[in-house]
Each structure stands twice: as structure tokens, then as C-alpha cells.
């Protein structure tokens, strides 16, 4: 692992993995003990998402390994480079239902990009090299390496890193450059072109080239939740987030466009709404590294397969010689004040204002990690940074409990960065045990719980689509989070949404928030949110993007 550049791993020890833990001391690899294997894998994901390096998690056989599964699925959905090392029962015991034996290879087969059950000690160098290669190459993803404990105990002189040479794959084929003049021709015919930016733009490292391209095109542009930060929020053509809880302007422009340029986005159902009515008038040009992502919900006219770091510059150079139509009128409509967000006086307004106040006070060097639920969408809607890796969340899988352990990984990767972890009261309790990790390591993570005493997003759907039958979403008997933090020796305090009624906020509230963000210690802020605050705009499931709902009926 050292040969692969690994200096930090996250994990939790147990029987079958003990020989590996025994070898950690003096190895040059730092191990961070979390308090649950799911915490370890989410922390490794946080580390990987913020650095672009491979995150590494390790766990023992059986329950240790199965506790990694949610994180592995998360990494698959969000294209996170991740290697999980799991201990396995002795080779001779495999298949006997031995104590803490699970077929981890089989369990994770459909969730991993690549996996191996190690059979001899001689295989280990090559398997490690190949595993790291697949984790970080092409569309990044998770890898599992399952090692029986007898092989972990065996000793052999390390003969040096293996220079793994991958076989040629058809999926490695690249567009040959002929695409550029075709896109130019499509642009020259387009009346209402738009651009959609996804995570692929960041993962490929193509953000500088993409920004130059978008500045040149100057067409209405929006981002998926994982594309946030790739385009500076202050760009005059930028319309914010698109999709189920996207902005009115972004969703409307996407519905009206006649030419959609997609840069590294999967076009999943949260982005498209009803796929049969997604961008109904548009031809689609799809820049994408992974051919498996093309045409999944809607056929594209022109796929541009390859790393965006190669294909965008190729397109840019062709554009330099082309004359493009004047889209001023279209841009004025799409980006105009007529389509600005409605000035809602709804119940969510204090929470949105709270997030605005918090984000505006963040130092320039910051990373925001959002958990999953209403607070995640509010945070995504209010996020205004232009840092490509500045907003991290579990987008594809939507795994509650992600944020706190992921923040551990982010803070360890970026010790000088202000790391703000925004959770809901439901999700925070799913990995609340990682407060112990935060305390032990003295990580100055700033933790926010948006506490509405409900599983808010589920409750919102119950309100809108299940006649307010709030079945099993009431969390009004939540524990006292401030007291829980205190038990972990972490300072915490509450802020009521009434504090957001003053314009500007009172000096006392301002100081409270500033001190919270500037503290060199971990801090917890519990914000009391209205129990029935809802996230709007909202595109109901199965509806077209143009069928947004803006407020409670």
C-alpha cells in the first residue's frame, strides 16, 4: 500500500484482520480508528472525495466486512476511488460457515468495480497494484480485496512494487476528434443551447478548461448536486442546481432548450424527472468517460466518449475557428429576473437564511459536507462557492449518516481547512458514535444539526403524497444533542430559528456563528428548524422538470 502512495487508512480491528493491524506499526501508514466500520468507509470516502486520491478502509471478516457494504455502494454510485481491505477466515475454513465468515466477495460483487479473494501470499503485490489501478482509472470506483487470515500471517520479503499493465479494453476507446466540428455545427443551428455540469468535470480535473469553454460559450449553465462548485456561482450565465430540487431558472431552461451539452453527468432520475419528458425539444451532446452512462434514461444524439480533460480542450480548439450565433436574447430570458427564485415566506425560510449566514461567514478555504435529506437540499441550493471539491455529499445512494464520518476523512486530508458538516437530526444519529473519533483526534470539525424532529424529507413526501400520514417519521423524542456532545467532551449549543428573524442578524447571533466557525476545537451547533418546513422548488416523482411545485398548498 505504501508503494501505491497510501499514508492514511481508516478501519476497525477484529479477529481475521489482526495480522494486518499487527504489521501497521512502523509501516509508515497511519491508521485512524473509527467507532464503526461504516464510519471507516465513509471517512475513507471523504478523504478520497476531497483529495482525488484513493481512500482506503479496512475491516475484519463477517460483520466487519458487511458493515462496509453501504459505503462501497455509495462509492460505486458517486464514482469515488476506494479500496477496502477485508480480513477473511483461514483459507482452509472458507465455505464452512466458520465463525465470522461471510462471502464478502460475493456480497460485494455487484457493488464493486473490481474485487479479489487472495489465494496465495505471492499474489498480493500484483493484486494490490491492480486493485488501486482500477479504483482510480477511468470512471473511479470501489475495489474489495479479501485476504484470508493465514495469508495475512504468512511472511515473505517484499520484492518491490509491481508495475501493473492493464489489458486493452474496448471501453477505453476514445472519440477521435471528429466530434468537435459536429458540435460546432449543432451549436450554429441552436436557438436555445444550455450546458449541464456534473461530477465528471471535477473528477477529470477539467474544471479550468470547462470554465474557459463556458465563458466562451456564455450559454445558460447549471449543475447537478455533484457538479456544484465546478462553475463559479457569480458567473452571469450560471443558474444553480438542476433537478428535483433545482432552481426555477435551471429547470425551466433545461425544459426549453433545443441543444443540451452534458459534461460528466449520469443524467439520473433526480436530474431528469420523467425521462420521456426530459428536455423534450433538445438534441443532447454527452461528454462522458464511461460509455455505460450513455443513453441510460434518454438517448443522446452525440456521445463524446473520453476523459473530459482531453475532449474539452479538443472542442475548445475547434471553437476558436468558428463563429457562433448571438444568444443574447435567449440568455436574457433564461437568466433574467423573471425567473429568479420566488421570495417565499414559507416555513423553511429561517433555515435557508441560517445556511446563508453560515456559508457567508466561512473562511475562503472551506469544505461543506452535507448528509442526506432536507438539509442536504437546502445546503445544495444555498451553496455559492466556486471550489470544485468544496461540496461533498452522498448523492447517488443517498446514504444517511454519511456526513459526520466523511467530515473526519476530509478534515484529516485538509487539516488547515474549515470543515463544515451539515446533518439532520435523523442522519446524525446514524453515525453519532463518530463523535468519539472527532474528539480523540481533536479534529476542529464544525458540526451543524438542522433539527426539525422529523425524518424531514420522508415527512415532506408523506405530507404531499400520503395525505399527511406521518408514519414512523416523528423524532420528537430526540435526545439532547448538546448533552450528547458534552458526553463526548465536545462543546455544543442550540440556536433557535427565531434568531433568523432579524435583518441583519443580531450582533449576539453573529458573534455566536463567527465564534463557532473560528473555534480551533470541534463544535456542535443544533439549529431548531420548523417541523413542517419543506424543500422547494420540488419536482414530484414522475413529473417533468417544468412541473415544479413552489409552495405548500
Amino acid at each position: 500500500m505504501r508503494a501505491e502512495g497510501v499514508d492514511l487508512v481508516f478501519g476497525y480491528p477484529g479477529g481475521a484482520i489482526m495480522p494486518l493491524y499487527d504489521a501497521l506499526e512502523g509501516s509508515g501508514v497511519r491508521h485512524v480508528l473509527t467507532r464503526h466500520e461504516q464510519g471507516a468507509v465513509f471517512a475513507a470516502e471523504g478523504y478520497a472525495r476531497v483529495t482525488g486520491k484513493v481512500g482506503v478502509a479496512m475491516a475484519t471478516s463477517g460483520p466487519g466486512a458487511t458493515n462496509l457494504v453501504t459505503g462501497i455502494a455509495d462509492a460505486k454510485m458517486d464514482s469515488v476511488p476506494l479500496v477496502c481491505i477485508t480480513g477473511q477466515v483461514r483459507s482452509a475454513m472458507i465455505g464452512t460457515d466458520a465463525f465470522q465468515e461471510t462471502d464478502v466477495f460475493g456480497v460485494t460483487l455487484s457493488l464493486t468495480k473490481w474485487s479479489r479473494l487472495v489465494r496465495t501470499i505471492d499474489e498480493i503485490p500484483e493484486i494490490i497494484a491492480e486493485g488501486f489501478h482500477w479504483a482510480r482509472s477511468g470512471r473511479p470506483g470501489p475495489v474489495v480485496i479479501d485476504i484470508p487470515t493465514d495469508i495475512l500471517k504468512a511472511k515473505k520479503e517484499f520484492s518491490g512494487p509491481v508495475n501493473f499493465k492493464p489489458h486493452v479494453r474496448p471501453a477505453d476507446a476514445r472519440a477521435d476528434g471528429a466530434f468537435s466540428d459536429t458540435i460546432v455545427a449543432l451549436l450554429q443551428r441552436a436557438m436555445r443551447p444550455v450546458a449541464l455540469v456534473g461530477a465528471g468535470a471535477k473528477l477529470s480535473g477539467a474544471v479550468p478548461e470547462l470554465r474557459k469553454l463556458l465563458d466562451h460559450l456564455n450559454i445558460p449553465t447549471f449543475a447537478t448536486v455533484h457538479g456544484l462548485g465546478a462553475v463559479p456561482a457569480e458567473s452571469p450565465y450560471y443558474l444553480g442546481m438542476v433537478g428535483m430540487h433545482g432552481t426555477r431558472a435551471a429547470n425551466t431552461a433545461l425544459h426549453e432548450t433545443d441543444l443540451l451539452l452534458v459534461f460528466g453527468a449520469r443524467l439520473d432520475d433526480r436530474v431528469t424527472g420523467d425521462p420521456t419528458r426530459f428536455a423534450p425539444h433538445a438534441k443532447i451532446v454527452h461528454f462522458e468517460i464511461d460509455p455505460a452512462q450513455l443513453d441510460r434514461v434518454r438517448a443522446c444524439e452525440l456521445p463524446v466518449i473520453g476523459n473530459l480533460a482531453d475532449t474539452i480542450p479538443a472542442f475548445c480548439s475547434e471553437l476558436q475557428h468558428a463563429s457562433l450565433p448571438d444568444w443574447d436574447a435567449w440568455r436574457s430570458i433564461a437568466c433574467g429576473s423573471e425567473r429568479a427564485e420566488l421570495d417565499s415566506h414559507a416555513r423553511a425560510q429561517p433555515t435557508k437564511r441560517f445556511l446563508d449566514e453560515l456559508f457567508s461567514r466561512l473562511p475562503e478555504d472551506n469544505v461543506v459536507i452535507a448528509d442526506v435529506g432536507q438539509h442536504q437540499m437546502w445546503a445544495a441550493q444555498r451553496y455559492r462557492s466556486s471550489s470544485p471539491r468544496g461540496f461533498i455529499t452522498s448523492g447517488g445512494l443517498g446514504a444517511m449518516g454519511f456526513a459526520l464520518p466523511a467530515a473526519v476523512g476530509v478534515q484529516l486530508a485538509k487539516p488547515q481547512t474549515c470543515v463544515l458538516c451539515v446533518s439532520g437530526d435523523g442522519g446524525f444519529q446514524m453515525n453519532i458514535q463518530e463523535l468519539a473519533t472527532v474528539h480523540r483526534l481533536g479534529l476542529p470539525i464544525k458540526m451543524v444539526i438542522v433539527d426539525n424532529k422529523y425524518l424531514g424529507m420522508v415527512r415532506q413526501w408523506q405530507q404531499l403524497f400520503y395525505e399527511r400520514n406521518y408514519a414512523e417519521t416523528d423524532l420528537s423524542d430526540n435526545p439532547d444533542f448538546v448533552e450528547i456532545a458534552k458526553a463526548y467532551k465536545i462543546h455544543g449549543f442550540r440556536l433557535n430559528e427565531v434568531a433568523m428573524e432579524d435583518f441583519p442578524v443580531s450582533a449576539e447571533t453573529a458573534d455566536l456563528m463567527d465564534n463557532f466557525l473560528r473555534s480551533p476545537e470541534p463544535e456542535l451547533l443544533v439549529f431548531d428548524c420548523h417541523p413542517e418546513a419543506n424543500v422547494y422548488p420540488m419536482v414530484p416523482a414522475g413529473a417533468a422538470l417544468s412541473e415544479m411545485v413552489f409552495e405548500d398548498k
Binding site: 466477495f105 460475493g106 460483487l109 455487484s110 468495480k113 473490481w114 474485487s115 479479489r116 479473494l117 482500477w134 470512471r139 489489458h167 486493452v168 479494453r169 474496448p170 471501453a171 476507446a173 476514445r174 472519440a175 477521435d176 476528434g177 471528429a178 466530434f179 459536429t182 455545427a185 449543432l186 438534441k283 451532446v285 464511461d290 460509455p291 455505460a292 452512462q293 450513455l294 443513453d295 441510460r296 438517448a299 443522446c300 444524439e301 452525440l302 456521445p303 463524446v304 466518449i305
Partner: protein, 103 residues
């Protein structure tokens, strides 16, 4: 019915990943036959699929690290299947789609 021929490196789990792309869609595997073929292996499958599923399966199989080639024919004949769009083989991706886009 459609017959699929998938060439793959016979490494751990490769065949299971190929089959999983079928089972996750709830498709019935009528016939499966896997065998050694030169340096690789080939699995042949008979499936009742829609045109859309053919495209999905092609792309998902090509995304498997150890898959090197995917082909299919209609079960009743030996002609190549109609599905050709966006096959991630290099040669035709840009030109074919470009023509379609400008049509």
C-alpha cells in the same frame, strides 16, 4: 429472443458480474453456456429482452473490467442485431452519431 456472446478474461467473479447484469433486471436466463475460447472465455446467453434492454446490457457488460467484446444476434437467425448505437468501440462513435445528430 436474443443470443448474446460475451468474451471475457476468466478472472475471479468476471462471469458472475456478467450474469448479474441480467439478474438485476429480473430477466430469465433461458440458456447459459460458458467455455474456454483461445486466450479468453466466451459466455453465450439466450435472453428475452427489449431493444432498450439490449442497449443497457451492452453498456453494462462493457463497463466490466474483464469484458473484452460483446456481440448479439436474433435467436431465429444469424444476422447481427440491430443495436449498434454508442457501442464504445472507437471507430464509429463519432461519425455515426454525428450523422444521426445532423439528420
Amino acid at each position: 429472443m436474443q443470443v448474446f456472446y460475451i468474451r471475457y478474461r476468466n478472472s475471479q467473479g468476471a462471469l458472475m458480474r456478467i450474469l448479474n447484469a441480467v439478474s438485476r433486471r429480473g430477466l430469465d436466463l433461458t440458456t447459459v453456456h460458458a467455455e474456454y475460447a483461445g486466450q479468453d472465455h466466451i459466455v453465450t446467453m439466450l435472453l428475452e429482452v427489449t431493444q432498450k434492454q439490449i442497449g443497457q446490457l451492452y453498456r453494462e457488460w462493457y463497463a466490466i473490467v474483464d469484458v473484452t467484446e460483446v456481440r448479439s444476434t436474433a435467436a431465429r437467425g444469424h444476422e447481427e442485431a440491430a443495436w449498434t448505437a454508442h457501442r464504445p468501440a472507437s471507430e464509429s462513435v463519432a461519425q455515426q452519431s454525428a450523422r444521426a445528430a445532423l439528420a
